[in-house]
Each structure stands twice: as C-alpha cells, then as structure tokens.
Symmetry: C2
C-alpha cells in the first residue's frame, strides 16, 4: 500500500491553507489497516483491473473512511486514534470539521482522475455517494442509540450495516465495476462486503471484552466503560433471565465508581449466559455467508484465493 501513501502525498503537495491541509495529511499518513483500499484492489484484480488506475478508487475510499473518522472523533470526543491524538484533539473542533469536509471532497475528486469511459466514472461516483450517505445514516443511528433505552439486535445490525458494511461493500463493488465485472458478480461483491463488514464489527465488539490486551494493543472494556450498545451486550440481554437483565441494565445506567469492578461484573454475566459463544457462532454464520458470496463471483477459482484468505484472516483476528 506504499503506492497509496505516495498518491496522498502528491495530492496534498503545496496545498494551502496549512490549517486545512495539515490535519488531512496527518490522518492520511497514519499507518492504519488500509483495509478498504485492499478491498478495492482485491475486487479489481479478480477482473484484471489496471492497478495504476485502481489506485485512484482505493485512495477515494480510504479518504472517505478517514473523513468519517475525523468527524466521528469530534462527535465521540475521542482523544486518541491509532495511538496518536485525534485531529479534533491535536487541533480543534472547527479545524476538524473543515478538514473532514475538505477530505470528503478530495476523496470524490480522485474518481474524476480515472482514465476510462465517462459512464464507468459516473457509476463509481454513484457507488461512492451512496456509501458516503449511508455511513452518515449509520452514524446517526449510532448517536440515536446512545439515548435509547432499548435497541433490538435487528436495529443494531442495521446500524452496523450502514456504519461499517456499506463501505466494505462499496469498495468491493467499485473495484469490480471499474474492472468490468458483470451484474451478478457486482451483486455478489456487494453482498460480500455487507456480510464481511458485519462479521468484522461483531468481532470488534467481542474483542473489546475478550481480547488479550498485549495482542490487542489497547485496553479492553472500552465499550463497557462508555455504556455502548454492542452485539455482545444485546445478545447477552436476549439470553439473560430477568434478574441478569436487570443487573445489566443497572450496570449500564448507573455511573460506575470502580470501572474495573463494573467490567468484571458485566463480563461475569456475559460468561454466565454464554454470550461469547453465541457471538462467535454469529461471526461464523456471517463468515459462511461471505464464502457463499465469493462462490457467486464469476471469475476463476485461483483468483478468489486472496479474498478467501482475507475473510478467514478477519474472522480469526485477535486485534
């Protein structure tokens, strides 16, 4: 992905004002997972898309992702991301709003740089726009959930579909569309992104409680501390008896005097109702769906090896 960082540098070179472009450069140059560009490349490679061109699409989606991070961190008042101060913290809220706005525009502009027929570019902009809008919708549902007493598992899954999955789906579909994939394969790529994103997010929820801290690279229990509604919690509530339900409710609505004690109390209920196993089962179920989706992509078997390994890698991730 070295390629993409060179492209970011080129795009941002000599741009003014500095207070707008320095924060953009700061976040783009952090070494993230670059998962979204990978998805764009993987889909494009399955249909022999030219990597020199595909990089513009990969950059567009990675920038779109980072735009959402900049704005989410303002909303969540998050101080640290990827081990470094957030844009909001390092500069301030106003600069973070504007840097995010500008980054979203620059992201879209990358698609205009593609050397291909105009109709393809318009289709890519359409995919990009739908993705961006749905991510906003997902984030708003997430904000709404903070003040809602009850959230159903279906509501939660719809929220993470919008907040996380559509970006994966958009990346895969865009890569495939550019490379000339047929309609059925595009639908399979899109579905793969949806299922992969959900499995990814549920695994994220699980790791927050059950990860090995040394491997995870950050403290466990963040979601419990923030009283966040996660798949694990909602599943536990579904499995809990009345007294366990009330205890979970109390733990998540009363300000904690001892965060460690709260974490252990919540975890002991999760353990008692076997929420971990139920969640792992759900991750496996979505991973199965991913395999089915991959089977529906019309390309040679050997071209699917990479995406299959990615799916398995994400399923068994420990950080």
């Amino acid at each position: 992905m070295n390629n993409i960082e060179q492209l970011f540098q080129k795009i941002l070179q000599d741009k003014r004002p500095e207070n707008l472009y320095n924060p953009i450069s700061y976040i783009l140059m952090q070494s993230g997972k670059r998962l979204r560009p990978q998805l764009v490349y993987i889909a494009a490679e399955m249909f022999n898309g030219d990597p020199e061109q595909v990089k513009h699409i990969a950059a567009a989606f990675e920038m779109l992702h980072n735009f959402t991070l900049i704005h989410d961190d303002i909303m969540d008042k998050a101080d640290v991301r990827r081990g470094q101060p957030t844009v909001y913290k390092k500069w301030n809220g106003n600069i973070a709003i504007l840097a995010g706005d500008a980054l979203a525009v620059i992201a879209m502009q990358q698609l205009l740089k593609l050397q291909c027929d105009p109709k393809t570019i318009l289709d890519l902009i359409d995919i990009f726009g739908r993705t961006a809008l749905e991510v906003c919708e997902g984030q708003q549902y997430d904000l709404d959930f903070e003040t809602m007493d009850e959230v159903s598992l279906d509501e939660y899954l719809n929220m993470i579909r919008l907040k996380t999955s559509v970006m994966f789906a958009g990346c895969l579909k865009a890569g495939g569309r550019f490379a000339g994939a047929d309609e059925e394969s595009l639908q399979a790529l899109y579905d793969l992104g949806i299922h992969l994103g959900i499995a990814f997010q549920i695994a994220d929820d699980l790791l927050d409680v059950y990860a090995e801290e040394e491997v995870f690279g950050k403290a466990v229990g963040g979601d419990i501390k923030d009283n966040k509604k996660t798949f694990l919690l909602l599943k536990a509530l579904e499995l809990a008896d009345e007294s366990q339900k009330q205890e979970l409710h109390r733990l998540f609505t009363t300000p904690a005097t001892d965060e460690k004690a709260k974490f252990l109390a919540v975890k002991s209920i999760f353990d008692a109702v076997h929420a971990k196993e139920a969640t792992e089962k759900e991750i496996a179920r979505y991973t199965e769906k991913c395999i089915d989706d991959i089977n529906r992509i019309h390309t040679e078997k050997e071209k699917k090896a990479f995406v299959l390994s990615l799916v398995h890698r994400l399923q068994s991730r420990d950080k």
Copy 2:
C-alpha cells in the same frame, strides 16, 4: 423558485433516520434569497438549457450552500440565521456536523440525476467539487484571520473570493456548461461570478455598518461587535493616520464595556477617513468588471437583460 422547494421535498421524502434528515429539511425549507439557484438558471437560460433539467443543478448548488451554512454556524457558534435558530442551536453540534455531511453528499447526487451525456455530468461534478473544496479553503482562511494581527486587503479579497465568489462562479459556469456554452463564454460566466461575489460581499460589509436598520432587517454593527476583519475595516486601516490606526487597533482588541459606544467610535473613524466612499468606489469597480464579463458572453443581447438587472440590483441592495 417554488419548483426547487418541491424538488427538495421529493428528495427528502420518507428518509430515515429523522435526526439526520429533519435538520436538512428544516434548513432547505427556510426562505433564503435562493441567489445561487437563480445564477444557475440565468446562465442556463442564456444558452437555452432545459429548465426541467437545470433544476437539478440549481438544487445541487443551493444544497451545497446550505451545507456550508450548517457547518459555519457550528464554527461561529451562531444561534440565529434567517430569523430562526440555527441547526446547531435547535438540535446540537453532533447532529449539525452529520446533517451537513449528508447534505453535501445529497447535493452532489443531484447531478447524477441529469439526463444528458455522461461527459457533461462529469464536467459539472468537477465544477461542483472544485467549488466545494475552495469554499472550505475560504472558510479556513476566515478562521485563520480571527487570530491574525494583520490581514492585508489582498489576503482579505482572496478569502472572500474563495468563501463567497467561487460558489457564484460555479453556479454560473455549471448552468452555462450544461446548456452547451462555448469555452470563452464559460470563462466569462466564471469571471462574472467571481466579480459579482466580491461586490456582493463588500456590499455586505458596508451594510453591516451603514444600513438602515428598518430596511436591513437585523441590527447593524454585528461585524464590529465580533471584531471581524471586513473590507471596510481593512480599507479604513489603509486610509487612517497613525493615531487613528492605533485607536482602531485598540477598539478591536480591548473587550468592549459598551458595545454602542464602541460601534460609534469605530464608525466615526470610518467616517473621518471616508472608508464608506472608498468602499462604494470598490463596489462600483467590481460592478464594472461584471458588466465587462457579461459583454464577453456569446449570446444575444436580449438574453443578457436579466443578468444585467441582477447585477444592478445586487450593487444597490439595502439589505
């Protein structure tokens, strides 16, 4: 412009979540000047663009403008706009960030609805993207100016070119491009927008001090109260002698105990150095440039009547 509100309603119908779309609907349905859609229509009409199609471009730019207002009001902590609570005030900062983000995307998506050749749509998206990015740059310069001791008139003009003029220019160029105007006319339309925007903003700065409050519809002196760097102030500083300069500097850096007294003290220096006349001269100079630009548009004279009347109306506006 009734047309455009119907379109807004149709676009936003049945959209969820409500906390994302209600603020968008709220700001779009406020009766603003609708100046930007007018500019799109005016340019398109000069080259016989189909109004049924042009409305999508007009909507895109009006939405883009409102996106900037939603986010600017967070940054400026502005409570009221168009006589109503701002989105930031009526809901909250987080909702205003997300509503703005979503609105910018929806704005762009309107261009994808055009029924015309794909290359034209790509050109319009290119104009739209450049406009959006430059408006962000202008807003960042404006934020930067708040903490700068000295701002030159040239720096100020560059800021309002980006913050205000490029949107006018983008509207005119986009309308013309859609309707098939030639390259020279497109350049003339773009230049017209730049000059009109600067004249418009300088007139705005003037009205803040010299408007008749009953006609103006809001209190005068807001910019002075907020210690804002305006054309009027920067021109006055240019014309002032050393003691007047120091007095202005003192007035704009010391917290005022009596806002009315501060306003009158500032105004008396403006009057003494004839800043009003110098500013009016500058507005007239930019209006002249507008007339020259209009003369460079390759269309029949009678088709220019409307844009000429708009230029004169904006030049002599009293609110």
